[in-house]
Amino acid sequence: MSTTTARGVAKSPAAEGTPPVPRRRGVRGRTLNFWLFTGPFLTGLVIFVYVPIGWSAYLSFFDARYTVTPSEFIGFDNYTYMLTNDKFVESLVTFTVFAALVVPVTWALSLGLALLVNRIRFMQAFFRSVFFLPTAVSFVAASLIWKMSVFSGVRFGLANTVLGWFGVENIAWLADPNPPWYWLVIVTVRLWLQSGFYMILFLAALQNIPPELYEAAAIDGAKPGWQTFRYVTLPQLRATSTAVILLLLVAAYQAFDEFFNLLAKTTWGRPPLVELYYTALGENQDYGAGSAGAMILTLLICVVTLLQGRLMGFGRGEETK
């Protein structure tokens, strides 16, 4: 998991000293091996990703209600329907609110945790593991814990118990959208699940910063603490930060489980995937409109990702630093 191991291996004299493996096979053998190793993955990719995307694109031009093998071609009607559909447009707004909340908060928290864990000199491995562990929990399970014990509306729910000590009345965190406490529930569950993983990424990056830089900064008179962090650490984490933000955005786009499990039978708080789920697999089973929505969403994600790459320089390599 940590980069220190990888670096250790790369530099180990044993690896450098090993004689090269003799090549016994020709080009054909190598091609075969290439397919052998990539084959299973590629097959999975084609069957579970590309074929469904292609099928979805096909469905989006048909009137496909209660069927996935439609016959009535209707051109761009599904696209018009989805783009003029308030619910779909609202779902994009919901997503924007969600991303605006969850991305910066997770970024800040995981960076903060990484700095703390990087600093401590004892039980580092323990804290690293403890913060990373929630990553292994499924979103569904975590949502249920959040819903039924942490943020349950009854007096013995964890959050309500704590508030009760200060004389605050029980709050219906999820049922009542005024004020929208449900955002607190949704953002905290994702925060708990994700920040450990991004902490590890930041930790790896922190450990990659050459100590000479800090020494030079100290000699130049940089004060330890904020100044060093602002002018040495943060610029050195630029590439990792960009990657983390990109990953967080992608994950936010894919958000489904917690919304689906926490907000039942509402008309609010539905990000695009949940809205599309209800369109395609809900009571209407309108696979055509659902697919059109999925296509629009895919296009949007592509555009946003490309724009972000352009703005933040992700993937341009070292020379941008």
Partner: protein
Amino acid sequence: MSAMRNTNWDRRTVLRAAMGLAAAGGLAACGSNNGRGGGSGSGTSLTQYFHAYGEAGTEQAVKRYAKAYDKADVSTQWITGSNFESKLFSALLTDNAPDVFEFHPQIQLVKSGQVADLTDIIEPVKDDFNQADIASHTIDGKIWGVRMIDDPQFFYYRKSMLEDAGIEPPTTLDELVEAAAKLTTSKVKGVFLGNSVTPVMNPLIWSTGADTLDDKNQIAYHTDAVADGLGKLRTMFKEGHLLLDAPADWWDPSAITQGLVAIQWCGMWAMPVIEKALGDDVGIIPFPASGPGGKQAVTNGGWSMFVNAKSKHLDEAKEYVKWLWIDQKEYQEDWALSYGFHIPPRTSLAESADKLKTGLAAEGVKLFNEFGHFDNPAWTQAMIVALEGVVADAVRKGGSAEAALDKADRTVNRELKKLFG
């Protein structure tokens, strides 16, 4: 790393062999994972879908009945989670669709050719069924499903709590609003209408004297009295007199048995558990009348067996449904009375069901007969969801009830137009 470098093994060969094995293993697994127990049965495999019943022992019971059938191997999918409909609906489009499944009678299943005509197996025993159940399963003169259980839904209330607050069981919606306020303390909430408040939408409509649809399949729920009733639900919601975000939802009796609430909307299925937990300290009442011309109401829900019209083993599936839900009265009785309480739709069974003849259960049967509203097959899932949106907008979000009903009208009318032209 270094171990791999130092060895003289031809690791490509090893990997290739390993992958070959894995692939073969995978194929073998596909071959054997066909739901057949092996040995018994004539070779036909049937799959049945059930939503996860909450009562202990139900899953084992369903599997036990299936195992006793010797003409086919019946495997059971016990679908947990709150979205049985979507799982069922999407499965019905695929090759892995269940041959037999439970659901409620809804006309779109018939119109889209998803359920098979079961008239021939029900016709001979038609007179032994509750006629309201036969009616709700009859579309275009054919009977499409076999009712397994009837489930009246009503309010349970804690007698002691009402006595302490000095109130009588409410008979009008205004009284319920008042009772909710009086019964709410720092420890106990007044009323539990479900976390989403949607379970009482239909009873609310009926309690004003209106209905979901009229005889001509036109919207009948959009009245001033219903809008008014929604406003009253909103009052209880806003004032904090409703139990919300409970760990177990309305269909589970935990809220009332754990003393979280004084009055809870639930079903007759929970009666044995509630009586065991609370003893005599519980009574039942229908949804109170609301507005002028209102009448108390009870939801007569329930579950029925359907056969997938596209099943590869259509005849065998029908045969199985006939065997279990028409012929095997012993199992039908066990299913209705041994776990939760349900009213058997078979008149002969209902008459001999001693467990339903005394005490609270007898009162439940009385409410079922006197105030119950059965399924209307023309009221489809899309329409149900549309009214759930009304509750979300008008009761939970606090928007205008009229606007929410207008919004639902558009969805329902589009649906009605599709179904009836």
